[in-house]
């Protein structure tokens, strides 16, 4: 776009206004002084543990959790275990996540206490077979989805951060070779488990996760990784990163341990999910051994992504439910023209539709997860669930702000944060695996 004289003047003025000289010479009013740079958290944040992983000499054979048998009847009730998980996580969401969320969003950082509170619930143990120290008896994407719903009801940014290591454990349990499972899974069952993450997204418009630009070139000793990843959850704090890259024309996943030469990690804050400390990952000739390639012949990258989509849909449903639960009492209490605004059809109908679409998202997600859990094909159902969540989650987010009017736009209420977080449902593919 060419600039006319006014445009040129405006551009010059902006550059001038940014000049630090202005401050030194006292030419900028104190109101305009920049607030703060970087994170001034006011709470203890996560730190990179810098832990290594030991290759074991005698590794256990690969253990894939068995699928559940398909029941006979249509049924929407949760079993006792699932109900217990939902109840305890709902408590965690209400008592720990919700109160910490605003501060974490503002500071763009994950409070370590929140991380530790969730770790003490032993979430990751649900992902890991007992042979490796966990409690999982069957593969259970349904339970994963229920977990995601409750955590995201608390806060999606915190939920995404909490689910990052959980997701890596799930991925290793489902796809890992015996050697990979033996090397990594026991660490996830320890008192201070590793932080880990999955890097899939890349910073180009219309990015198709099935065709990463990040390349893995075969070398004499393994692979050499080159590329860019964006939106990597807790990238700077992760001991282990699962990175998707193109290997001889096909998308695969590589196990990348922190600290390898050629890895550069920078903060890449985004519209939402601020507590999840999203990062940009630059890989320059990162050398990996042969056994860094996740899985073997039966690895399906499409299914790997589908599992991520399932968990993301769970998050979307949870935050949407939070929005619905929030706007109901607000609209019943807020009065205008002599009565609660909830007496107006336009307000009431918006709330009805919020409920319809939240339940729609939930049922589609549950169906896809339930099919995955019982060994049935679920690619179609996962795609449809994701498509619906992409549309409806943001609609709910924007309507929730609308229902609070001006108050929805300011940070006193959580709906503006949920608006920002809900946009991520359609844009982010990484970080999660049911």
């Amino acid at each position: 776009m060419s600039r006319d004289p006014v445009g040129l003047a405006l551009s010059a003025m902006t550059r001038f206004a940014a000049n630090p000289l202005l401050d030194r010479l006292g030419l900028r009013s104190s109101v305009e002084k920049t607030a703060y740079h970087g994170t001034r958290a006011g709470f203890r944040t996560l730190a990179l543990a810098g832990r290594g992983f030991n290759r074991v000499a005698n590794w256990l054979p690969r253990k894939q959790l068995p699928e559940k048998a398909a029941p006979d009847l249509f049924n929407l009730t949760l079993d006792a275990d699932q109900q217990m998980i939902v109840d305890s996580l709902h408590r965690l969401a209400q008592e720990t996540l919700r109160p910490a969320a605003s501060m974490a969003d503002e500071a763009r950082a994950m409070p370590a206490e929140v991380f530790e509170a969730a770790a003490s619930l032993g979430l990751t143990l649900y992902a890991i077979p007992s042979e490796f120290g966990g409690v999982a008896e069957t593969s259970s994407p349904v339970t994963s989805v229920l977990i995601a719903e409750q955590l995201a009801w608390g806060d999606m940014g915190l939920a995404v951060a909490l689910l990052a290591p959980f997701s890596v454990a799930q991925a290793l349990s489902l796809w890992g070779t015996g050697e990979q499972q033996s090397r990594y899974l026991p660490a996830f069952c320890e008192e201070h488990p590793p932080v880990a993450t999955i890097a899939v997204d890349e910073p180009t418009a219309l990015y198709d996760p099935m065709m990463p630009s990040t390349q893995a070139t075969p070398t004499k000793s393994g692979y050499c990784l080159n590329g860019l990843k964006s939106g990597v959850v807790l990238g700077a704090e992760s001991d282990l990163l699962l990175v998707s890259a193109c290997l001889q024309g096909k998308p695969r996943v590589f196990l990348v341990e922190a600290g390898l030469p050629g890895i550069k990690i920078e903060a890449e804050p985004a519209m939402g999910l601020r507590a999840a400390q999203l990062t940009r990952l630059t890989l320059t000739n990162v050398e990996l051994p042969l056994d860094a390639l996740l899985g073997s012949e039966d690895f399906s990258f499409e299914m790997f992504l589908d599992r991520g989509a399932l968990l993301r849909c769970g998050l979307a449903t949870g935050t949407a439910q939070a929005a619905l639960d929030y706007v109901i009492p607000y609209c019943n209490n807020r009065e205008a023209f002599g009565e609660p605004i909830s007496h107006r059809q336009s307000v009431a109908f918006m709330i009805s539709n919020l409920a319809i679409e939240t339940d729609s998202m939930r049922l589609l997600t549950w169906r896809a997860a339930s099919r995955a859990e019982t060994g049935q094909s679920y690619h179609r159902e996962a795609c449809l669930a994701k498509l619906l969540c992409n549309e409806k989650a943001m609609e709910i987010g924007t309507n929730a702000v609308q229902l609070l009017g001006g108050h929805g736009f300011v940070k006193d209420h959580p709906v503006e944060r949920w608006y920002r977080d809900l946009r991520s449902v359609a844009t982010q593919q990484g970080g999660l695996h049911a």
């Binding site: 049924n75 009730t77 109901i328």
Partner: protein, 403 residues
């Protein structure tokens, strides 16, 4: 948690699908063009359905069976029963033709009402009739409590006076369940329903509507002029109890709303499946992908429509499942009807659009389905009434507070 259809319902789904394909589809256009012609082909089919139901070990299916309690139960007590079975069958029939599904002898909305509230004597007498339902009047549609048809007690009879419009199967049915008020000053508590058999003096089918869609279904205006009806024909409790109010009559709708949702799902499935087939013939890649922006616009659109339809289907299954398990499902029934009504309409219309002038012409049935779908978002509680019912539940508001 499990969201697939139980295998034991496969036979009924298969049967209904065959009826849709072999009985309904071949005559679909015929009766769409000949709006008030009687579809004789359905008489034989109805006898088959009667036979199936009378002999059914599991309680059968259909309009008159919704309150039946024979169901499949698992070890936890979870039930998949008549509500779900009837829903699944009806979805398939409506994949064939909604108008014809509404014209099956002895499967009227009146039959559901009778099944819900009739006494044993009434069931014995009227259980095998074909009963239409007459509620709406020229001045009262959504506000059914405002009906002005009166029923005045006179010895052993009630005398009914008034005019009912939009009565589905009003001409073809051999009985009509009529909503009338015993005393206008007492509001909705005084509204009762009466079974009036065809041939009763004072009841006249005055006209049949010419409609946008479901033209195979007869929609009648019926006038009642000093129509004498035996007092035994009053359905339910003759006492006017102000606190109980409307409950009994409206309860029928908790069971029938999911069925109307099912009709919308059926016709939308027909449109989507056929459109998918026509578009696949062009060679367009219709595969499912997580990142759909790089796909052709038509592929993304078809999958969005499919996702919306799946949502409607699961919401409707939920409502039926809750009914089978004795769980109060008024909100969920309304959510199902609201979602299915609107997406059914949107899908059928979009399918016509995606197929261009082929979709628009009478060569295909697509344009007919787009006409048929509209009423499903209107009758048995409009979209707006459903949203109102849902909102009142969510917000805990009475009809006086949230209008």
């Amino acid at each position: 948690m499990y969201l697939e259809i139980p295998k034991k319902f496969n036979p009924i789904v298969h049967q209904a699908r065959q009826v849709a394909r072999e009985v309904f589809r071949p005559i679909s256009r015929k009766y769409d063009l000949a709006e008030h012609a009687y579809p004789h082909e359905l008489d034989m089919f109805a006898s088959i359905m009667d036979g199936m139901n009378d002999g059914a070990i599991d309680g059968g299916a259909g309009a008159g069976k919704l309150s039946g309690s024979k169901a499949s139960t698992d070890t936890t007590g979870n039930r998949n029963g008549t509500n779900m079975k009837t829903l699944l069958g009806l979805i398939e029939l409506c994949r064939g033709d909604v108008g014809l599904a509404l014209s099956i002898p002895r499967q009227g909305l009146g039959n559901s009402a009778i099944a819900a509230v009739a006494s044993d004597a009434q069931l014995a007498h009227f259980g095998h009739s074909w009963a239409a339902m007459a509620i709406t009047e020229p001045g009262a549609g959504s506000d059914s409590a405002a009906i002005r048809t009166t029923a005045t007690k006179d010895g052993d009879h009630y005398i009914i006076n008034g005019e009912k419009i939009f009565v589905t199967a009003g001409e073809r049915a051999n009985a009509v369940v009529v909503w009338a008020t015993l005393d206008k000053s007492l509001g909705r508590a005084a509204i009762k329903s009466f079974i009036v058999e065809k041939g009763t003096a004072g009841m006249t089918v005055e006209r049949l509507e010419k409609k946008l869609g479901i033209r195979a279904s007869d929609t009648a205006t019926i006038r009642f002029e000093n129509c004498r009806v035996p007092k035994e024909n009053l359905l339910g409790d003759p006492e006017i109890s102000v606190d109980k109010g409307f409950a009994g009559a409206m309860q029928t709708f908790d069971n029938t709303r999911p069925l109307v949702a099912g009709m919308a799902i059926g016709v939308a499935e027909a449109a989507l499946a056929h459109t998918h087939k026509l578009i696949a013939e062009t060679g367009t890649d219709l595969g499912y992908r997580l990142q759909s922006w790089s796909q052709p616009a038509v592929t993304r659109e078809l999958q969005l429509l499919e996702a919306e339809l799946e949502a409607a289907r699961l919401l409707t299954l939920r409502a039926a499942w809750m009914a089978d398990n004795g769980l109060p499902n008024s909100k969920e029934a309304s959510m199902a009807k609201a979602k299915a009504g609107r997406v059914g309409n949107a899908i059928t219309l979009r399918c016509v659009e995606l197929c261009g002038s082929l979709g628009y012409s009478e060569i295909e049935l697509l344009e007919k389905w787009a006409r048929d779908s509209k009423i499903l978002d209107i009758f048995e509680g409009t979209q707006q009434i459903q949203l109102l019912i849902i909102a009142r539940r969510l917000l805990n508001k009475s009809s006086a507070e949230l209008k």
